[in-house]
């Protein structure tokens, strides 16, 4: 057994729509090690979200095996799966999935509500810290409909961070962000990655993928490309450059 944090072997996920069978994932095998920063690319409908949902233990494959930290996920019951999602995985949804009419602080604190082992001593302080990390320290009491798309995306990221999981799965986390905020989020991801977190980020923008250390491309639910990015760009440096450009333009 390798040290891989994530191991997909011959994963298939089929959806049957009446007569037609959609093969969202078709015999996909893949390993991701601890501490990797992986970008997942592929055209729309290539199976990226389907794969992420299986990785996040939100959905089950039609066939194939999935090992997380050496544990065969299909042997876990619903309760154990819930605990795994709660403590080991931070998930950022493509459509945010925040609770409506609920403040940013409460949304971010939601996973800690189900923290059975009381690993976090002060959930409130931890939630504020997570929001500050995504630059929303001044929006604690805002509800989703009072926040912009980018801000909602960052609340969703803070919610994924709050339990301090060893891996973060993000499905198009920068899809709704402007270039500046995108850089900020990528800088945050790189920082987390340097701290040892594993990151799997779906994106359809090549520029965004350049910040990752490994690039995987899917097509029709199959692996099209899987290569190492020898020299990932440094988001922090690009951010500084963008800022100086801006101030130059102003001057």
């Amino acid at each position: 057994m390798s040290a891989a944090q994530i191991r997909l072997s011959h994963i298939c996920k089929f959806f049957s729509l009446g007569e037609v069978e959609v093969r969202a994932l078709d015999d996909l095998s893949l390993e991701i090690d601890r501490g990797e920063f992986v970008a997942i690319m592929g055209s729309s409908g290539s199976g990226k979200s389907t794969m992420m949902n299986i990785l996040g233990c939100l959905d089950t494959p039609t066939s194939g095996g999935y090992h997380f930290d050496g544990i065969a996920v299909e042997t876990l019951n619903r309760r154990q799966l819930a605990d795994l999602r709660n403590t080991k995985i931070g998930f950022v949804f493509q459509g945010f999935n925040l609770l409506p009419r609920t403040t940013a602080l409460e949304n971010v604190g939601l996973p800690l509500l189900y923290d059975r082992h009381r690993a976090v001593a002060d959930p409130q302080a931890r939630s504020i810290e997570a929001l500050q990390r995504v630059g929303l320290g001044d929006r604690l009491d805002h509800e989703p409909n009072q926040l912009s798309g980018g801000q909602q995306q960052r609340v969703a990221i803070a919610r994924a961070l709050v339990t301090d999981p060893p891996i973060i799965l993000a499905d198009e986390p920068t899809g709704n962000l402007d270039s500046h905020t995108t850089l900020e989020v990528m800088a945050l991801f790189q920082e987390l990655n340097r701290e040892g977190l594993t990151l799997v980020v779906v994106t359809h923008e090549t520029e965004v993928a350049e910040y990752a250390g490994r690039l995987i491309e899917l097509r029709d639910g199959m692996l099209l490309r899987d290569e190492v990015n020898p020299q990932p760009r440094d988001a922090q440096a690009d951010l500084l450059e963008l800022q100086t450009e801006k101030s130059d333009a102003l001057a």
């Binding site: 819930a82 709660n86 925040l98 609770l99 996973p111 189900y114």
Partner: protein, 405 residues
């Protein structure tokens, strides 16, 4: 997840969706309130009627002229004046099973006192009528046997008559004219209130039997005879004796039917119980129907609410809520809503019962068992219909719950 946090989450969710919470509770409120109102009024009127029957008198026997059929043609009740003062005299003289006997002669007419006048019923009775009927005096005294014999022109007023004719004066000792015959007021009766049939029992004047018979009536016909048996155990013996004495006084042949009817309390109680029984049954079925409708209301809103919140359930599951956490949340939410609705329902039911009781002149009796059963039932309905769809949602794949539309 800790219990106090679950309760907090439930309370927040209730507060966050005030309209939905109110709609959910509305079913419970209406159900509980209507059951409590109906049952309180039903039991209240039952108690009222029982009280009134008991106050009719002690071991009361009432004799009325009966129907006389000649040649198969019934003349109907009271078609012949079959009761006279001779009957009363005979009963007084020979009856051993009767403690008191009184004739009742009714007349009606205009009563004038000073500048006030009032139309009412004048009832001629024996001095012992007070004892037979358990009546009480408020003021002055009832008339004596001597006043009865002398056909004295003395009157005892019911409360309503006293208030109408003597609004700001003590009536005792005052004078009035009944159908132009001058009378002296010697007493006022204690208030009796409305009868079960809604009549004002205080709109009446009592005068000695002979006075009414000879001065206000035809000197012959009496309407009823009221009598008191010696004890409740000897009611049947008293009834038999009464029948025998009246038959012999009326010289009825052995084959002839009675030309009078005797009714006793047990019959009156039976009739009253039948009436209130029907009433209670009717009210209970209305209450049952409204509880059912309330239950269906709760069911609808809970189903809609949980379905509408499938995404919320999905989000909670996705961030690590166990299916049991989700269930507990909905259970607690439904329980809090039910309790709150039940509480509001009890309060509004009690005030409605009180208000309607006041309006109809019925007392409202609250039965704690009924309150408890109603609240438990509605609560159970609310929890059940919240629990069932919540369980369904909690058992979904998180991604299916999130995708639910």
């Amino acid at each position: 997840m800790r219990w106090h946090k679950l309760i907090l989450v439930a309370l927040k969710s209730i507060a966050r969706n005030k309209m939905r919470s109110l709609l959910t509770m509305l079913g419970i409120i209406i159900g509980v309130a209507s059951v409590i109102t109906m049952v309180a009024l039903g039991e209240g009127s039952q108690a009222d009627i029982e009280g009134q029957v008991a106050s009719l008198g002690t071991n009361l026997l009432m004799v009325r002229p009966g129907s006389v059929s000649s040649g198969g043609v019934s003349g109907g009740a009271g078609s012949r004046p079959s009761l006279t003062m001779d009957d009363v005299a005979r009963l007084e003289k020979y009856a051993t099973q009767l403690r008191w006997v009184s004739a009742e002669i009714r007349a009606s007419g205009q009563v004038i006192a000073g500048s006030n006048n009032w139309s009412t019923t004048i009832k001629g009775v024996a001095p012992n009528y007070l004892s037979i009927r358990n009546y009480e005096m408020e003021n002055g005294s009832f008339f004596t046997a001597r006043e009865s014999k002398m056909r004295a022109k003395v009157a005892v007023l019911g409360k309503t008559v006293a208030d109408e004719l003597f609004p700001d004066q003590d009536p005792v000792g005052a004078r009035l004219r009944i159908r132009n015959v001058p009378f002296k007021v010697i007493g006022v009766m204690a208030e009796k209130g409305q009868s079960a049939m809604g009549n004002d029992q205080d709109d009446i004047i009592f005068a000695p039997d002979n006075t009414v018979l000879y001065r206000l009536s035809n000197g012959k016909t009496i309407h009823d005879i009221s009598a008191s048996a010696i004890s409740s155990e000897t009611m049947d013996a008293a009834k038999e004796e009464l029948t025998a004495l009246l038959r012999s006084e009326h010289r009825l042949a052995a084959t002839a039917e009675d030309d009078f009817v005797i009714r006793d309390q047990t019959e009156i109680v039976a009739i009253a119980t039948r009436v209130t029984g029907t009433l209670t049954l009717l009210l209970s079925s209305i209450a049952g129907v409204s509880l059912l409708v309330g239950g269906i209301g709760i069911m609808n809103i809970m189903l809609v609410s949980v379905t509408e919140r499938t995404r919320e359930i999905g989000i909670r599951l996705a961030v690590g809520a166990r299916p049991l956490d989700v269930l507990a949340q909905f259970l607690i939410e439904a329980a809090i809503l039910s309790l709150l609705g039940g509480l509001i329902g009890i309060l509004s039911g009690l005030s409605a019962a009180w208000g309607v009781g006041k309006l109809l002149g019925v007392s409202a009796v609250v039965n704690p068992t009924v309150v408890l059963i109603t609240v438990l039932f509605t609560g159970a309905v609310g929890v059940f219909f919240g629990f069932y769809p919540a369980r369904k949602a909690a058992n979904l794949n998180p991604i299916d719950a999130l995708r639910y539309e």
